[in-house]
Amino acid sequence: MTTTTQARGETDIAITLTVNGQKHKLDVAPWVSLLDLLRERLDLTGTKKGCDHGQCGACTVIVDGERINSCLVLAVTRDGAEVTTVEGLSEDGGDALHPMQQAFVDHDAFQCGYCTPGQLMSAVALTKAGRTGSRDEIRELMSGNLCRCGAYPNIVDAIEEVAQGSRGDKEPAQ
């Protein structure tokens, strides 16, 4: 039995997280959200804090292959997880844009850009899951990502283009 117990005020919990391919051993207080851990401890400020209540989607990251709201996850509860943030989207780890990022640029799918990292992470996970059969389906399954500038039509255009490319309908934008 390997129960981890920590009483109020005692020391932090030791956890391991793999973030964008890099393994981190971290001592974390149990009340630290994954979002705050990424931004404040790992300096990965691409992931945004919008509402901090799971309503806006700006904090969306991919954890063990699934998109989730990092603001509603206590980091200690994801010990051992693999996390991908917007900084880790580029497949070669360099400056090259991920096809979804390029499609957002090509389709003018943002104005102020604050929601964009969350939109991208959500869009990448959605496309990988293959649930992009129609504009209605994309709109419904992107409903957890708000864009107060109202770039929705162009966001759907961008996702539709990448989804069609990944289904082999046509090449994604480069």
């Binding site: 129960t3 709201n69 206590l74 419904e140």
Partner: protein, 338 residues
Amino acid sequence: MNRFGYIRPTEVSQAVEALAADREAKIIAGGTNLVDLMKYNVERPSSIIDISKLPLDTIEETEGGGLRIGALVTNSTVAYDERVQARWPMLSSALLAGATGQLRNAATTGGNLLQRTRCYYFYDTGTPCNKREPGTGCPAIGGVNRIHAILGASDDCVATHPSDMCVAMAALEAEVLVEGPGGSRRIPMADFHRLPGDTPQHDTTLAADELIVAVELPPAGFPEHYTYLKLRDRLSYAFALVSVAVGLKMDGDTIQIARIALGGVAHKPWRVRGAEEALEGTAAAPADCAKAANLLLDGARGLKDNAFKIELARRAIVRAIGQAVAATPQSQIDKRIA
């Protein structure tokens, strides 16, 4: 957020012991509701008991032809499970009607059962609330109550249960499997959530030291004649004003078995067996559907802002029965009402 302790059991019995040892501790799984409430200072646990490492994350077929869904299986996993989609599609549809892709990926089956009301006053610690602080009063009754209950409410609480999943599970007559210090027991969905009465602080009949380990679906999943119709203020990512889950077993044009549950209207998924019986043996003629709707809404009472929900529910029930009879379930993608 307040400071709190952290316990991570690796066996169900350890989680139950931790609950029994500290009544101020809270179980955490996906965290989508609990962490939110902790940020609002509505929930202030002494410790959180993280059950994410317990072996409760599988979906298994039961010997009797049912399905056992582990408490930690996420809402997405259940919604997209091929067995659920083929044999209990009403549950899949209800899950996909709720929340967002991100939330469904984190939220669990057990957590969904235990999610709290979204009553504005429950969330606002600057106001009284009998559910949050028993005996302080209910400002919703004379206040802003558009989203509140029309059935089964009390003078102490008019909150609704917000879940879509639970409405389908009520119609499917699922059972909640729990473990406590004295062993395990099964709670039928009809008895799991409760009406507020004068103790609205209790949402369910789960004991303080019991842990949900699974939900079991019986074999009858109404895969041909079903629907989950959800009406809300926004087309996506909004709680139900009224929702209707219908499952029918038909022989030709005749309804043999009917199951109907309403969401968004009461402190628990709302079922009235007499309404279902009123449909059984009929061909769902308009008069039969109207009778079922009247029986379901018998005793409904509107408040200042929510009286519209009575007529909305009446029409939604009739429409949903029609969708189920015609085998044209409501799409959760194309929001036009069939």
